[in-house]
């Protein structure tokens, strides 16, 4: 699950580490850090925007408690749904084998959406290609969508090309 969080830190050394430590301690995987030094708060604090991944809601609660204990003020918190984007290719007689049905099968998984489809129709007699972007709420759901798609592709005689970083 991806979390977007803005915390306010005092502008003295060591503060960033103090804010990151609780996230790391509970296995949070930090994706990006953005300091906004030019946008100090009236109290002279620095807003820091973080995006990180955590296992579940319970873990996030533990992190929030630890931050509070450390005296760190969290000013914004948003769970970013549908934020695991996975790109795959399909090669074969995609249209003939009813791409709509393929997409519906994926969209039927709660927390999974086919967010983009680019189709390149092959020249006469040749196979077509499609690039599909799948949005999922977390890594497990993304994986489930891929394995569902693998099953569909095999049934329909399509070649599925997944990311080298996917399991």
């Amino acid at each position: 699950m991806l979390v977007k969080m803005v915390m306010e830190l005092e502008d003295v050394p060591g503060q960033l580490l103090k804010g990151l430590e609780p996230i790391a301690r509970y296995g949070g995987n930090i994706k990006s850090i953005m300091h906004q030094r030019e946008r100090k708060t009236p109290l002279g604090r620095l807003p820091v925007m973080l995006i990180f991944e955590v296992r579940d809601q319970a873990t996030l609660k533990r992190i929030l408690a630890a931050l509070k204990e450390a005296g760190i003020r969290v000013t914004q918190l948003g769970e970013r749904e549908g934020e695991i984007l996975t790109t795959v290719l399909l090669v074969g007689h995609i249209v003939h084998t009813d791409i709509r049905h393929t997409i519906d099968q994926l969209n039927a998984i709660k927390g999974v959406t086919v967010s983009e489809l680019n189709l390149a129709v092959g020249s006469m007699g040749r196979e077509s290609s499609a690039r599909m972007t799948i949005a999922a709420n977390d890594r497990e759901l993304a994986q489930l969508a891929i394995s569902r798609l693998q099953t569909i592709a095999e049934k329909k005689g399509l070649l599925l090309v997944t990311s080298v970083e996917a399991i």
């Binding site: 290719l89 092959g122 040749r126 690039r131 070649l159 997944t162 970083e165």
Partner: protein, 337 residues
């Protein structure tokens, strides 16, 4: 060191050229004086226990297609007999690969080991068919058995894993291990040409075999995955354990769609303890496996070092002689001979 070379195609000639051109370097840097005492090809053999005149041998072989014309050459002489009869330290087994039977390389290697000779090979066939048997035989006979050139060409994939990353437990090996398919996919993506045309041009440029089936269908990569699984991961894996998909169905449109999303399609071999696989994969630009042309690349996942990747040329007689020579120097060092 006294050397027998079995098979005198591109690789056999390549290593001989390296012996000639680098004689000074090998002596100065490693105290190594390679003496080729016998060479066999499919037509017969050339033998000189005092050491063959390599420039002369190369000239004859390039002119006539065989070493038999070398003074005193023995037409019809069998490699197996040569291995038994000629006194030598190391046998280079460099005959063409047969992935079903492993022959004739398999018999050559066994015979050499039985005769107490160390073996260096680039031949995937025997390794795919009988890795465990050969590994055990080498240990039993107390001889060295090296096959760096069988995976990665000039890229020392196996040595890196076994010698330099030895403190790590390796959980996964992923690699672009076939230069021909990588060349084809790179050009398809860059020029939007259909596969057949690029294959024909690759054949004309000597970058693809007359029958490129083993490359295109991923079998060559699967052989390398099998060898890595056995030699690096210590799994007793067979070629049939690898789930293989080739690149035949990849169209120029597919490479374009990938490119538009900042990705490249690469034929990737994956070896893990729970899964052996070869197939086209999407690789993001800037990824260690996103190498172009005929390059090979391999990434290891490691418990201590995290991830280590290595890249270089996967084929070519000169490039491959880097690995063959590296094996010879290592045996020379190990034995202190």
């Amino acid at each position: 060191m006294r050397i027998i070379i079995i098979g005198f195609g591109n690789l056999g000639r390549g290593i001989c050229r390296a012996f000639v051109e680098k004689a000074d370097f090998l002596k100065r840097a490693h105290g190594l004086v390679p003496r080729v005492v016998a060479v066999a090809d499919e037509f017969g053999a050339a033998v000189d226990e005092k050491g063959l005149d390599l420039p002369r041998l190369l000239k004859i072989a390039e002119g006539s297609g065989t070493v038999v014309g070398y003074p005193g050459g023995k037409r019809g002489k069998l490699a197996l007999d040569l291995i038994d009869e000629v006194s030598a330290d190391v046998v280079f087994e460099l005959t063409p690969t047969n992935i079903r039977t492993g022959e004739p390389g398999l018999s050559h290697i066994k015979r050499a080991m039985q005769a107490g000779k160390h073996v260096i090979t680039s031949n995937k066939g025997p390794l795919v068919v009988a890795f465990k048997e050969l590994d055990a035989l080498a240990k039993k006979q107390g001889v060295e058995f090296r096959y760096s050139a069988s995976v990665g060409g000039a890229v020392p994939v196996i040595g890196l894993a076994k010698k330099l990353l030895s403190g790590n437990e390796i959980s996964e090996i992923r690699g672009v291990l076939n230069g021909t398919t990588n060349y084809i996919l790179t050009r398809m993506s860059a020029e939007g040409l259909p596969q057949e045309i690029i294959i024909r041009e690759a054949q004309e440029l000597g970058l693809a075999e007359k029958d490129p089936t083993l490359d295109i269908d991923g079998i060559d990569t699967a052989c390398k995955v099998t060898i890595l699984a056995n030699s690096v991961l210590g799994i007793n894996a067979k070629l049939s354990d690898v789930k293989v998909v080739g690149i035949r169905r990849i169209t120029p449109e597919a490479t374009r769609l990938a490119h538009e999303a900042g990705q490249m399609i690469k034929l990737v071999g994956i070896a893990r303890r729970d899964r052996l696989e070869v197939g086209p994969k999407l690789v993001p630009q800037g990824h260690p496996l996103a190498v172009g042309g005929t390059l090979n690349a391999v990434t290891f996942k490691l418990d201590l070092a995290g991830e280590i990747s290595i890249t270089g040329f996967g084929a070519g007689p000169k490039e491959t002689s880097s690995s063959l020579l590296g094996d010879l120097i290592d045996i020379h060092r190990t034995l202190g001979g």
